[in-house]
Symmetry: C2
């Protein structure tokens, strides 16, 4: 029980938790999701495997929470999309940063594994969407609502659908590896999409 | 060797091939991709498992070719997108049909399994894209080129990127199950995207 824990034991389990997240992300990156086991994560994190089983039902949940913590840290430092008043510039900046993240091997390999697992495992997919994906999409929705209030986009446009014009093609190209994921592509998406939702 | 085959043995192996495709699609639909084995496919198709191993290196390739044959049959009967001269109506018709296909359980479950396998297995993913996905996207590109020649879209627009404004959000919503995949959503995508690529 948390109440009976000393500050020291709380610090120790916090340290274990972070070590487990780091171990899960690096192992999946090196060996692939299929060859990553709870035992392997425990060994690399320097904890007993029962510690992991006590906290998480499966390696998929360990990985999901590792990304949640990473995303949570990013959100604390920068909880909203930039709003300089120039919607096109702001969206290009965010979409280019997303391209950089999705093509960084240390991020890409485990994130791709988690996304693929969610594609076939509906329960995990629902958690992935609810905890990890939708909060990020909501930041775009908020930015587009602000733009709509400022008269920069058509008042009849559904911001949630408009967001998908930006992130859907990016995810499609990334997940299926159809064509290169570049800043130029991100810029084109922003330009086409913004013309599509401009005031009439 | 094919040259020494009698018409009867050619018919027999053609029949076996189709039985194997049907068995693979139905078994993945019922049991899931992970629990489908070459042995299971062979038993349901009424062939020896060596017959499958002789023709395909893995169950993923069996499934991919099953979809290729299905797609090939569809393409023979209808090799291009409709071109009534009304681009918006034509695209809505095709995108609605895609929604219907992606939400038909008999198609969805095995197709989703194949797509997810391609997300993590780069070799299979490349085959999936080259053989199955890109030929279908090319039909959209052809239709958009015809529309561009007819003055219905901006001559500076890259049709291959424009296609992704339509199919990317659809695939995103379908693969990640973020929100319902409906005809109304397909229609919105066509409307937003066409405004985005309209002549200036």
């Amino acid at each position: 029980m948390a109440e009976t824990r000393t500050p020291d034991s709380t610090r120790r389990s916090e340290r274990s938790r972070r070590a487990i997240y780091d171990a899960a992300l690096s192992l999946v990156g090196e060996a692939g999701y299929g060859r990553t086991t709870i035992e392997g994560i425990a060994a690399r994190a320097g904890v007993g495997k029962q510690t992991i089983y006590r906290w998480w039902p499966s390696k998929a949940e360990v990985l999901l929470e590792a990304f949640l913590e990473r995303g949570g840290q990013a959100a604390e430092s920068d909880p909203a999309l930039p709003d300089t008043g120039d919607l096109e510039a702001d969206l290009k900046q965010v979409l280019r940063a997303t391209v950089d993240e999705l093509t960084d091997p240390g991020f890409e390999i485990p994130y791709r594994a988690l996304a693929a697992e969610g594609v076939i495992n509906a329960d995990l997919g629902a958690q992935f969407v609810r905890k990890l994906l939708e909060p990020g999409l909501q930041l775009y929705v908020d930015r587009l609502r602000a733009a709509r209030d400022a008269g920069a986009i058509d008042p009849d446009v559904d911001p949630r659908v408009a967001v998908e014009l930006l992130v859907g093609p990016l995810a499609h190209r990334w997940l299926l590896r159809t064509l290169p994921l570049t800043h130029a592509y991100a810029d084109s998406l922003v330009e086409y999409a913004l013309r599509g939702i401009a005031p009439r």
